[in-house]
């Protein structure tokens, strides 16, 4: 076997793409040929190097849930206005497929004939059978718990005044309605969906407002953090940050999200609220670092002076 062939196929060997017989031949050759053995070793070292980088590079791991959710939300908004290609345009633009389908025409005609015949027999039987179902009492069917994939949007959220009853209208293929208390799993699931995915700001605001009452729940807190970081509406972000306030001290994810809002949010109201919330944890290393950056060069005079005041209250670090 020629060394040239071996060298061209070493890469396939390393990726497990060689057929069994070719792999056997390559292994036999490498055992005898020092040059090709060195080549195989070099290829393996190169893969080890890439694997080392792969383990450390965040871009090579799965995208973050926040990025995925933000992408889905953006796509959902775009799909609202997108239109699928019409049946006629498909015919007009794909003549090659007409020809391809003509090959199957005899089979298709026979299949249609058989289906038509069976359909006719079935219909005759149905007509001749005595109807008994009409006499049955009309029992209500239970509303199935919606799965996230089947929900296409949420149109309204209403809490009945003075009660803990919430009414949510949501769309699957047609609009449906679910009712229950905030402790109801179905209601919670719909609220979490609405907070992340809805294009209607009012609905997102209502869902975040209700979820704020359940901010002790980890899943709810994640949804509130998501809303704080990604929602386009400052009112929704303000509501989310308010609901997260009690957890800045104990939950580092919340603290990080509040710090990100303090540094990056475009709305000064949200930033000032973030600054107020981090006051009890201002001695924390990450918080101190952010305060120093704000005190040095923040565009807002108020935030700059508040950050300086907070830093001045802290003991000096040697």
């Amino acid at each position: 076997m020629k060394c040239e062939w071996v060298r061209e196929n070493i890469v396939l060997q390393v990726y497990g793409e060689l057929a069994d017989d070719a792999r056997y031949e390559l292994e036999q050759h490498v055992a005898r040929c020092a040059d090709c053995a060195a080549e195989l070793k070099a290829e393996q070292e190169f893969h080890a190097l890439l694997a080392q980088d792969r383990a450390a590079d965040p871009l090579l791991t799965d995208p973050s849930p926040n990025l995925l959710a933000a992408s889905r939300m953006r796509l959902q908004e775009a799909l609202e206005t997108a239109k699928q290609g019409s049946f006629w345009s498909r015919l007009a633009f794909d003549p090659a497929n007409w020809l391809l389908q003509m090959k199957f025409s005899p089979t298709l005609a026979a299949a249609i004939l058989i289906i038509g015949f069976l359909g006719g027999v079935g219909t005759m039987r149905e007509i001749s059978r005595p109807t008994t179902t009409a006499a049955l009492p009309n029992t209500p069917t239970p509303t199935p718990v919606p799965t996230e994939a089947s929900i296409t949007g949420i149109s309204s959220i209403v809490q009945e005044p003075g009660t803990n009853q919430i009414s949510i209208k949501y769309n699957t293929v047609s609009t449906q309605e679910a009712q229950g208390s905030l402790n109801d799993q179905k209601i919670q699931q719909l609220l979490l969906y609405a907070a992340r995915n809805n294009y209607n700001t009012g609905v997102r605001f209502d869902s975040v407002d209700l979820l704020a009452q359940k901010s002790g729940d980890t899943q709810v807190r994640e949804a509130l953090i998501y809303a704080l970081q990604n929602d386009t509406n400052p009112g929704v972000r303000l509501k989310s940050i308010g609901a997260l306030g009690n957890y800045v001290k104990d939950d580092t994810n919340v603290r990080d999200a509040v710090l990100r809002a303090l540094v990056n949010d475009t709305n000064s109201g949200v930033r000032i609220e973030a600054l107020r919330l981090i006051e009890p944890v201002k001695a924390d290393g990450s918080v101190r670092g952010v305060l120093m950056a704000l005190a040095a060069k923040d565009q807002s005079t108020y935030i700059k002076s508040q950050a300086r005041t907070m830093l001045a209250q802290l003991p000096e670090i040697d």
Binding site: L49, R72, L75, F87, F93, T152
Partner: protein
Amino acid sequence: MLIREAQRGNRAAFEELVRHYDQAVLRLALHLTGTEQDAQDVYQDAFLKAYKNIGNFRFECSFYTWIYRIVTNLCLDHLRKRNVRKEDAPVAKDASGGEYDLLDQVADVRAGANPERDLLRRQLGARIAGALEKLTPRERMVFELKHYHGLKLRTVGEILKTTEETAKNTLFRATQKLRGALADMR
């Protein structure tokens, strides 16, 4: 079944299809474009294109292959455009003459406990990224799908509308170039 439903215009069915594939699509776009913003744009364009053209899907290949074909075409366009405007990128040259992105050198405020190891990791990452940038868009795509996504070369060929043999040759060229560019790192 979902595909048939989506072809009939059922948006919920299409969105369920999206959820089956979108994580892999976003990962591919993120790695090839290098920024979350560009990756989101590719993701958005790919699924909108799929939605508009799903009626033309004839089950001649798997839906997975079809959707990947759309994404890879968009990524290839992106890579070609980026190659054209590369001169504007904030790049510098390292000791061996290889270019790397200056933005990759900005210190991470949340760096690990071992700064020396972290620096070496960043240097390695920058060198590999620089070497990948030197590949042609098609070599980069074949390498990406094979090395980072673990697809079979036959599938890579189907996605890129070429033969398995051509995919093999492209992979060979890509690894040779990368090995050459990173020879001093081993």
